[in-house]
Symmetry: C2
Subunit: 375 residues, 2 copies
């Protein structure tokens, strides 16, 4: 099962409120998506994530492929069961990670070396889809060719052709995939069901690339938007481009993309970004920023603060969860694990409440007013 | 308020079930006491500790003194409020840590260097009590002279004389201490009330030393046992002695100590130790072992297992909390914080349920049968 419905449209911008229905539950959009790179959102249990309002759990295919390995997760009943997370899960194609490892590309796929042990591996569109089917996320992504930044127009053009060829191969693989494996309880493997299964269907999003070039981004939006994907992922906007360039990309592709498909933005989620991307019709967006900042002691808020600074040593102001800034300052100063955890809870709570407010403001017609308050 | 009552005595051994009433709640004994060295039990929140059955929270005075500093905790309303822990707290005298730093001793006290920045500091019995009054634990310990292991009889004798002199000075400081400080709400500082305050009295335990020498241990038990302490702490049994020597020390001092005072054993808590010390009349005992083992991936149980071993990569057996061994194995293999946390929960759950069972077995008269099952 996969269904997307727009429930409210903002009158002054392209912001929209909707819901994505998946086999593991409903995602109310716009939705922030925390990244659980290695099948865990740093230090938190699935129960805590649920309490914080997390609706969709992002896991990196590349990391799962290397450790614990796809066959392990498959044997254990898929990602949901492995992590103990009952809600929706999204996996990426693995492309972004392998390209950043200085991989050897060809039209067929990518050869790369494990960052753990240097062993050599190959990802192709078919392989990426097969892996993602076995991991069993509710939403999976087409394998794409990620360009570095900056890149010339010529290079970006050649890369985009490959991305589009791989989109076709990813979609073919998705539609023809019939899993042979069975889960440990002997039942038919649920997440890997093919498209005609109404109940357990995994959604496949196509990926838009094109670097910072208007003609390429528009061409990509046309091409991917016209294909039989369940949703659209916009990639390559968080690899070095400025905020201005992200906004340009979204302004170029927004009008071209089909309204009825959900749009995911990969790797973006600072506060001003969130308003800018929601304003341009993005429905879900993943970002490591809130959890990464937390581990550095940076607490999101208005204003954001650096809890490691001396001025918080005696500050009784509570952080999210009720502990004092002074206690959190102490935990960071003496390098205690609880510090990273409390800061992570604080930041995830913050960003989820912000997106809750944004959702409500769109419904009420006051999105731009809320944006003005924040930016 | 401080009160100790023995509720049941085992007929065949010296094991006993009792309760210690403190200003922050009742401790049912025998009780395992996890160590929150730096005002946190590694990675867990006070709420989780409470759920796991933790009754008494052990904090190291030396660590608090250096970071965040006593005046900070005093200003923030004491240790309980600082950590967000509502139950009983015990602090040590700081002696054990400063002696292990190669401190310069005299009859007056100990000069030592901070392990953080090398700055020089002095602890005396009066200073240790003052610090502990300001930290505001429910139970505090007399400052004692900790001997290294092994040590000659002559050295142990001289050290014991000092311990006894310092016990007298600690008790005097305790009885005469009147806090001048007020907490941030402007109320009278509660934990630092003097002995005649029936409501908020902090209990002081005297410390027994004497290394592995029978005559010295017995002399120390006589001396400390006869003083006006609220309880007895037995120190120096976990600094290199064998299990046989711990048992000997407890057999020597047990019959001498007054029955009506609670007995705390410092730094011991492996499974066979727990049965041995409870059998010899110990009421509370602190130990870093369950939390330290957890961070190494060693899960307590029958049998104990090393979750980092390859054989658990596909093992669906649940650990405490419901996650699979396979998931925990993965988290350790990729060095994820959640792994240390789940293992810590597992071990603390294990040791608390074991001590629950021991308590019940004493009440039912089946303590030795339970011991036989385990040892």
């Amino acid at each position: 099962m996969f269904r997307f419905k727009v429930l409210h449209k903002d009158k002054k911008t392209n912001a929209r409120v909707g819901e994505i229905v998946t086999p593991h539950g409903v995602i109310r959009t716009p939705a922030f998506v925390p990244v659980g790179t290695q099948a865990t959102v740093k230090s938190l249990t699935p129960e805590e994530l649920d309490t914080l309002g997390v609706q969709l759990f992002f896991v990196n295919t590349y990391h799962m492929y290397l450790r614990p390995g796809i066959e392990v997760i498959e044997k254990l009943g898929g990602l949901h069961k492995f992590m103990g997370w009952k809600g929706p899960v999204i996996t990426d194609s693995g492309g972004f990670q392998v390209f950043s490892l200085g991989a050897k590309k060809s039209d067929d796929g990518v050869e790369f070396r494990s960052h753990w042990d240097g062993t050599s591996h190959v990802f192709t569109p078919e392989k990426s889809i097969e892996i993602q089917k076995k991991l069993g996320a509710d939403i999976i992504l087409a394998f794409d060719d990620c360009t570095p930044y900056p890149v010339t127009h010529g290079q970006a053009r050649r890369s985009l052709s490959r991305t589009h060829a791989w989109a076709t191969r990813s979609l073919d693989a998705h539609l023809s995939f019939r899993p042979k494996s069975r889960n440990p309880e002997g039942k038919t493997w649920i997440p890997g069901q093919a498209r005609d299964d109404k109940t357990n269907y995994q959604a496949l999003y196509g990926s838009i690339q094109g670097s910072v070039y208007e003609d390429l981004r528009k061409e990509s939006a046309e091409f991917i938007g016209a294909m039989d994907f369940d949703g659209i992922a916009i990639g390559g906007v968080a690899v070095g481009e400025s905020k201005k360039e992200m906004v340009d990309v979204l302004d170029w592709v927004g009008p071209i993309l089909p309204d009825k498909k959900p749009r995911h933005l990969l790797g973006v989620g600072e506060i001003d970004d969130i308003f800018a991307l929601v304003e341009r019709g993005i429905d879900t967006f993943d970002c490591v920023q809130p959890t990464r900042l937390a581990r550095m002691g940076k607490l999101m808020g208005k204003p954001a603060i650096d809890i490691t600074k001396k001025q918080y040593a005696r500050d009784l102001t509570p952080i999210e969860g009720g502990f004092s800034r002074a206690y959190l300052h102490h935990l960071f100063r003496v390098h205690e694990l609880l510090g990273y955890r409390l800061a992570t809870i604080h930041n995830l709570h913050f960003v989820h409440r912000l997106v809750d407010d944004i959702r409500e403001s769109i419904t009420k017609g006051s999105f731009l007013e809320l944006k003005d308050e924040w930016i």
